[in-house]
Subunit: 525 residues, 2 copies
């Protein structure tokens, strides 16, 4: 049974189980309060003597590679999501597992997409016991309705690296789809027909998994340059017809918003940053890929041109707008974690100042610092915010788990964190008394920008001071909440069961909150 | 006492101690015979919470950094040798240690050079107990004469990575000099006045040392791109006036030989490769940096031009000749481990096809393969060879330990290994009955090219066959040895004591041989 009998209150005031899927967990202790006492995960050493002398690790098929890797019931299988909704690798793995009669696999993707709805059948028939990883869409719905055999675990990109590095999640077999590879296993995402930009989300998997399989549809003679994944970690290489559907690899999120409200929010966000003195020569920013965020990037560009300044770096996910800024010289470097369109892929392939990063460099909390803290301002989304700036990014107001955490939690460590969000969505207020699921503690969230006003976290006295005479509509979150409720009425709480269907990890591996089963109107379970 | 009472015969027939400096060792068991049973070294986990929120790890001086890193007696301190004879970092560390009254440090450089003769005083006064790492020049002489307090340990570049990765050598403090760095600790060797090309020899140190200090004379705002060393592993950054003397960083070994004998050897080597069918479209080679090796590279270029073919890749150490071949299109990629001249540095900085590697990618034997095995032909040196093709690369015929192993042992795994060597040096034959120190087993060495004939290892029937009608002077090693002895007489054996002054590790961490104390004519000890 996945229901945990014992629940304790963590430092954020949320009740979390003491164990998940039979393993003890550490409840959230507060930001920066949990210090790891153990050591880095130490995989068994290998020897060149066990590998082909000429470095050729090619095997005939993914099935053969999985069998040679020792696939068996109960294992943990990992994949990455650089192909996004065009991924052809993950479904194939579990088709093979099903065909071989394997059961009870833990799937550990860096994220899942609607294309993985194919796997619902394997969650139902027990081929897959559960998913640990972000679930976008149908799989999240399945999980929300309590249908997954074990409890899902959601981690941020950095938290996923941390979990693998720390040995919290031991990967038995990592299957890494790659746009380009050589037979030794060096691989990248910038070349080939299925180029997805980079392979950073698979870095931890390559370094720490027991067995590593590279799957590509574009094999080049050694050396595959650049090697974003190093063949020295790889056991087998497989060539298939197609690893991804290029037009679906590129996400549909890269269009600037046309909504007048969203444009207003974007403009107010950019103006706020200018008034607060954040946009100055040599500054840095991370805007993200949503329509509003893209517009903010464009407004930033306009301000920079007007001021005659440039940014030292911008963090990706990259897209054509950011690439234009790089090529125009408005941005010196793009430090990129994933490319959201073909221009991003091209730029990363061609421009040495468009640098690929990984969740290790960018987000891993159990290292000696990471890049997130060096970013002057980061623009993030949220599904809900409470009056203490606590935010939710994974569940909707109806309680359904429909989004992953992505790099969201990790980015909260940037110098200024701004959430530009509409005050209500479908007439449901976004500022609430208590968020359905706590993903980020309010102490790390600095500014909420809505179309009807901007709220600054009282902790940020500096920002309050620099913007007090700006003419911007600065309000309290309570005022914004009241305004939303005057228009839409007080929102109803979602109908949730006691059953925990998913745990939300904090960046340090502790459990900050849980997601509970949604009680469906017709009483189905 | 550093003398080991118990000695056992290893698989190469050499007597080696059962322990070195109080630690049990594994005697050499044969090529590919020792499989590691333990796990990768697992350093204690860190947390971002323990590091500055803005990523700035700058401290005022190297002394302060060493104190903050907890420098104390008995520790292991590592450095790299990318600055070669222009290094200003290592001497400084031990000046500080001496000033602080620290004793009994193990110095673990990737190599030492004549500039480090400054450290002899600290070996004598006990600040440094011993060196584990290649010793070029005065330190090797000091060691050979039995003056070091503990036994030296010599490893190949790959063996050094393996020892750190496997936890055989636990580094307390790694001090990494860098041509360029940011205050977070991202660092590279391609930029700045003290550019040395790359920092691959410090990779293991950065990944596994308990504390990591970056020392630079060229600080740039975050991000330092490329980051050959990742700041996520770094504890402290220090800015000094000068980390290296540029004109001494570039080695003096990069001039083509003018000796008629050496040129003949070079030409014969190239001709042998052509006759053997090794030089074909898409082949790969590693020539090295000595005068003869450089000439071989130039001959290779001529053959390739004549044949209208190109090499898929060449392994560095790089130099202006190799860079010219890259720029001419004769070579598609240079996979480089160290740059031997400024042209190498420039090319690595500017040309994406001039790729920096590390001992991990290139040479680590305890991984799932490495690059060495993918190289078609490698050209190496030797101080002595016996009639069974066993070779010595560290001691002279007088028994003095004057060279490091470098990547030599690692390169023996390439598809064809050729040693072009003069038949005698200073009237002392190079082909001997038994090498003074065994560094590489004869089964891995394929061809010896001398000015008076070429010997092919009987194991390489393929090479014997393809060259039998070539008109090349193919002889046996015995014939070559006899010829040398007819000219120079039978060489005298060096006068060696029983005392073991250094151990020679094989690529898998086992001990293949030892170096014994030289008995000096005047009976000094």
């Amino acid at each position: 049974m996945k229901m945990s009998r014992e629940m304790i209150k963590n430092a954020a005031g949320r009740f979390v189980p003491t164990e998940i899927n039979g393993e003890k967990i550490v409840p959230f202790k507060g930001v920066g309060k949990h210090l790891p006492q153990n050591n880095r995960h130490a995989p068994k050493l290998s020897s060149n003597a066990l590998f082909p002398a000429d470095g050729n690790k090619h095997v005939a098929s993914l099935k053969e590679a999985l069998i040679k890797a020792g696939l068996k019931s109960g294992m943990t299988i990992s994949t990455h999501h650089h192909f996004r909704n065009g991924d052809l690798v993950a479904n194939k793995i579990f088709d093979i597992a099903h065909e071989l009669g394997i059961k009870d696999l833990r799937w550990f993707p860096s994220a899942s997409f609607p294309c993985h709805a194919h796997l619902l059948q394997y969650l139902e028939d027990g081929t897959i016991s559960h998913i640990e990883g972000s679930m976008n869409g149908p799989l999240g719905k399945f999980c929300s309705e309590g249908k997954m055999k074990k409890t899902a675990v959601l981690r941020s990109h950095g938290g996923r690296y941390q979990a693998v590095q720390d040995g919290e999640v031991k990967i038995d077999i990592a299957v890494i789809g790659a746009g380009c590879a050589d037979s030794f296993g060096n691989a990248n995402g910038v070349q080939g027909e299925s180029a997805s930009g980079l392979l950073g989300f698979a870095l931890a998997d390559s370094q720490y998994a027991n067995k590593v399989i590279i799957v590509t549809d574009h094999l080049v003679p050694f050396p595959c340059v650049p090697w974003q994944i190093q063949g020295n970690y790889v056991d087998f290489t497989v060539v298939v017809d197609k690893v991804g559907i290029p037009e679906k690899i590129v996400s549909g999120t890269t269009n600037v918003t046309k909504s007048p409200d969203r444009l207003l929010i974007a403009e107010m966000t950019a103006r706020f940053c200018e008034e607060a003195g954040i946009i100055k020569d040599g500054f840095s920013f991370q805007a993200g890929a949503g329509g509003t965020a893209l517009s903010i990037g464009i407004f930033f560009g306009e301000i920079m041109r007007r001021k005659g300044i440039r940014a030292r770096f911008a963090r990706g996910g990259s897209n054509k707008y950011l690439v234009e800024m790089l090529e125009e010289g408005l941005v010196e470097y793009i430090l990129d974690g994933q490319t959201f369109d073909l221009e991003g892929v091209r730029s990363m392939r061609e421009n040495p100042n468009h640098v690929w990063t990984s969740p290790f460099t960018s987000y891993n909390y159990h290292s000696k610092g990471n890049f997130a803290g060096m970013v002057d301002v980061v623009i993030l989304g949220a599904t809900e915010v409470d009056v203490d700036f606590n935010a939710n990014v994974v569940t909707h107001s109806d309680g359904y788990l429909l989004h992953g955490i992505g790099g969201w939690q990790n980015c909260l460590f940037s110098k200024t964190v701004i959430l530009p969000i509409p005050l209500f969505r479908d007439r449901i207020p976004v500022v609430v008394d208590e968020v359905t699921t706590l993903c980020g503690p309010g102490e790390l969230i600095d500014v909420i920008v809505t179309e009807r006003g901007i709220a600054i976290n009282p902790l940020r006295k500096d920002l309050i001071k620099t913007t007090e005479n700006s003419g911007l509509p600065i309000k309290t979150l309570q005022e914004l909440k009241d305004e939303a409720e005057r228009i839409c009425g007080k929102p109803e709480k979602p109908q949730l069961d006691k059953e925990v269907v998913a745990a939300i990890k904090w960046v340090d591996g502790t459990v900050i909150d849980v997601v509970r089963k949604v009680i469906m109107p017709e009483g189905r379970s």
